[in-house]
């Protein structure tokens, strides 16, 4: 039987560092994955042409995909670690809303996406919405 020892709650800076680690690794992973999927092409069309095996082969033979997945895996374990020390109501909305903003910035500069006023407005609305949803 494992007996859990009482662990002091992390301070605000430690909590911020945990959330920042999730946001940075998650953003890097998502941008790399999006770049990989853009280079692969429309998966629905590939599946219609070459079947499910062809679609899976197209994804797993893309080196960028592995770089993206590696960062997403680091983000996943950072999330698990944060869940173990902080409340879900803090970690989930904080990391989700901050990741939305950092992804919009990264998508504009690295993926050259057309992040117009409509998308910026949406990112900010969703960000504030997630904050209110957690309180």
């Amino acid at each position: 039987m494992i007996i859990s020892s009482p662990v002091p709650a992390p301070g605000p800076w430690t909590a911020a560092a945990m959330i920042a680690a999730i946001v940075l690794t998650s953003t890097t992973g998502e941008v790399l994955t999006a770049a990989a999927m853009k280079s692969v092409g429309d998966l629905d069309e590939i599946r219609a042409h070459s079947g499910m095996k062809g679609a899976i082969r197209a994804v797993v033979t893309c080196p960028l995909f592995y770089a993206g997945v590696s960062f997403l895996a680091i983000a996943f374990f950072a999330l698990l670690f944060a869940f173990n020390h902080l409340n879900l109501s803090l970690v989930a909305p904080a990391s989700a809303s901050l990741t939305l903003v950092t992804n919009a910035v990264a998508a504009k500069f690295f993926l050259k996406e057309n992040v117009d006023r409509r998308r910026w407005t949406a990112a900010v609305l969703v960000c504030i919405g997630v904050y209110f949803l957690a309180h």
Partner: protein, 155 residues
Amino acid sequence: MAHERLLPRQYMILGLVAVCAPLGDTCLSRGMTSLPAISLAHPGTLIAAVFTPWIAFGIALLIGFFASYLTALSWADLTYVLPATAFGNVIVALLARFWLHEAISWQRWFGVALITLGVGFVAQGPSSTERPACEEQPALGPEESAVQIEEEQVR
């Protein structure tokens, strides 16, 4: 190929993205909070946590999310797909209110309204960025590239 308007099948993929992510996160949270505190000095315990039932179920849901997410990213922009993931929070709030009969504060309803508004904003626009024709060509496989090089040499 860039689609201005999405097909019903593509909306279904975005729906899976929205539903699987928050449900998976909730399962992970439930699993991790039931475990004793994990220290960075023992990273192996994080790996062992993956095989507990709640976390394993959460991971299964997140695999479903990831497959849908990759498919969506292949025909839509990252900044179009991401609000769909946030819309999952709205689905969870609605399930909590009407299925579990939980009380939802006005702040949460306000949050739900803002996220819905934000997703509505993005959904009205194009799903992918228009690019010049030369950038839209899919990446060629090694055999196709070799054929293309030979054709250019013949010319």
